[in-house]
Amino acid sequence: MQILKKPFISRSTKTGSAAIPCMAIVILMALPGMRAPFQETSESKANQVKAVFLYNFTQFVVWPQRIFNSKTSPFVIGVLGENTFGPYLNEVIESEGVDGHPIVVRHYKSITHDVDECQILFIDKSFPAVKQAIESLKGKPVLTVSDSENFMRHAGMLRFYIEGGKLRIEINQEASQKSGLEVSSKLLRIATLYRE
């Protein structure tokens, strides 16, 4: 577990004119395992947060034990479609694990047969066949996450959306339950529940 060194923060807040950029940095700092990028856009900022959230889901969702072949089997976070995270996701999961299983990131351009080896699959909103992807994972203990607007309608489990400038989560509890995933009530508290 890493904790960012304070001197970095305190030094950057020293000059009064730099107050606003600093605030931005401070918000990013709230996210674990993040390093301050050199250039930032609101887009990339959102993606950074998404990467962190993806990792955080590992803490609030329980997967069935049988999915791992061995103790050392990796915990796979898959990204289907365009990789909008850039380097952020890898930075977030670096040297992290879930119950002793190391986390790895896999990128998929299409729906391949090994997509179900993922424990979390992020489907980028630019990916055309969201529905097919979800259906291919039906009954499998894979947490599907997307920022696509129609995602929930296709029985997707978690959806990112922006509200009031903040990244929010919508959850389809029925879908996650059907897949044998246990979503923590704490996550349910802060998420918006999707109803058909």
Binding site: M1, I3, L4, K6, I9, V26, M29, A30, L31, P32, V49, F53, N56, Q59, F60, K166, L167, R168, I169, S184, K186, L187, R189, I190, A191
Partner: protein, 464 residues
């Protein structure tokens, strides 16, 4: 009363300290429990950057009226959410944020830091600040209970001591009153009232017994006194009778014994005058012996009468010039003893006394001194006085025959003589008479002597 109050107070104080300590421990524990629940509920909010939700969780603390403030800090120590919303931020300084379970007391507040952990990952920290009013409420309640208990104890103790006082102090007071009555009125017939069979009852009994004893002894003493008075009266009466008899006796001695003696002497004298020439030398010597003894007997009777008369004689005290008195006495005696020897009369202090009696004293002492020193080659008689212990002490000293101190106790006795009549004539009454006169003047008489070396006679007279 005071003792029990102090004990009570100390008991309550120790309980209070114990109460405060345990209460603080309990309160810390309770607050930890609360903070753990809150922090557990805040994990998702921190993980998914949802301050609103965190705020909602913290607002639930509203139900806990002792929670003054709460705040949630993220992993970097940035304030994530706080309660109440308007609570001044500066009271929760960022550099005091700790990521360990920790608590401290600060200005009557309890502050707790509770890390927010999800699956062993620290996501941030919860800050809780609670006032200690609960404890103070409790202490106040406790103090008021203590005050009430003490007050009630005092009331109970007061009534108890009143009761005890009635049973203990009252008999003691009664005893004291009796003792006072006894000592003030000297009335030993009063008795203390016994109130019980306890120690005080025994004391009362003992006291009463003592009073009875005193009363009895007083009565006895009074009886003795009366008896004594009667005895004294009787003795006085007897003495008066004896005195009268003695007077009558001395009167008859003076009159009736002197008359025949006078006849013996008288007719012996006539015999000598008218028929002396017929008697021859031996007859004349025999007649002279009769006459000498008759004269001596007359002297004896006169001395004895003077001595016995002194008993009833009144001492008429006047200021006496002792020097003049002594010189007069000596002048009279001078002729009798001739001018042989030296007589020194030192100045003598004045004294109050009976002139004729003290004259008699001086006469007897000086004539004695002259008489006993005349046979010496250089007779010396010295008369003087000195002052000692408020008394004038007069002395008559001679270098004559003196006396043996072995027979000192016979010196002042009537008809007691230390020398034979052939050596020194005398009746043996002189010193007894002197002794008696000095005693009548409240003085003392004593003497020092050595055989053949002389004698000194001292007498003291009080200076008034």
């Amino acid at each position: 009363m005071l003792t029990s109050a102090v004990v009570l107070l100390f008991t309550f104080l120790s309980y209070l300290v114990y109460e405060v300590v345990t209460f603080r421990q309990t309160y810390v524990r309770q607050l930890y429990t609360l903070s753990r629940i809150i922090s557990a509920n805040c994990t998702a909010a921190l993980a998914f950057d949802n301050p609103d939700d965190a705020g909602e969780v913290l607002r639930a603390l509203k139900a806990e009226k002792h929670i003054v403030a709460a705040a949630l800090y993220d992993k970097q120590g940035n304030l994530f959410s706080k309660y109440p919303q308007d609570y001044p931020l500066q009271t929760i300084p960022r550099d005091q944020v700790q990521f360990e379970e920790n608590h401290r007391f600060e200005k009557s507040h309890l502050i707790i830091f509770e890390p927010v952990v999800q699956n062993d990952k620290i996501l941030g920290v919860l800050y809780l600040k609670s006032d200690m009013d609960a404890m103070y409420d409790r202490i106040r309640l406790y103090a008021s209970i203590a005050a009430a208990v003490i007050a009630v104890s005092f009331v109970v103790a007061y009534f108890l001591s009143n009761m005890l006082q009635r049973s203990i102090s009252e008999p003691v007071h009664a005893l004291t009153r009796t003792a006072k009555t006894v000592s003030e009125k000297k009335d030993y017939s009063v008795r203390a009232t016994k109130t019980g069979n306890d120690e005080i009852g025994y004391l009362t009994d003992a006291f009463n017994q003592m009073l009875s004893e005193i009363q009895m002894q007083n009565a006895q003493i009074q009886r003795f006194n009366q008896k004594l008075e009667l005895t004294i009266e009787q003795r006085t009466h007897d003495l008066e009778i004896a005195n009268k008899e003695l007077e009558a006796f001395s009167y008859s001695v003076s009159h009736d014994l002197r008359a025949p003696l006078r006849s013996i002497n008288g007719f012996s004298g006539i015999l000598m005058e008218d028929y002396g020439h017929l008697l021859g030398e031996e007859g004349i010597q025999t007649l002279k012996s009769i006459m000498r003894n008759g004269t001596r007997m007359g002297q004896l009777i006169d001395d004895l009468l003077a001595f016995s008369r002194l008993g009833k004689q009144h001492v008429a005290k006047l200021n006496l010039n002792m020097t003049t008195l002594t010189k007069t006495v000596y002048d009279d005696l001078k002729e009798q003893y001739g001018n042989k020897g030296e007589v020194v009369i030192n100045p003598l202090p004045e004294i109050k006394g009976d002139r004729s009696m003290l004259r008699q004293v001086m006469q007897n002492l000086i004539s004695n001194a002259l008489k006993y020193s005349m046979k010496k080659d250089n007779p010396l008689v010295e008369i003087g006085a000195y002052r000692e212990n408020g008394e004038n002490i007069y002395y008559v000293k001679d270098n004559g025959a003196g006396f043996n101190m072995q027979y000192y106790d016979k010196l002042f006795g009537v008809f007691q003589r230390l020398h034979s009549a052939t050596d020194f004539e005398g009746t043996g009454v002189g010193l007894a008479l002197v002794h008696r006169i000095i005693l009548k003047h409240d003085g003392r008489i004593w003497a020092e002597g050595k055989e053949n070396e002389g004698a000194t006679f001292y007498f003291s007279l009080p200076v008034t």
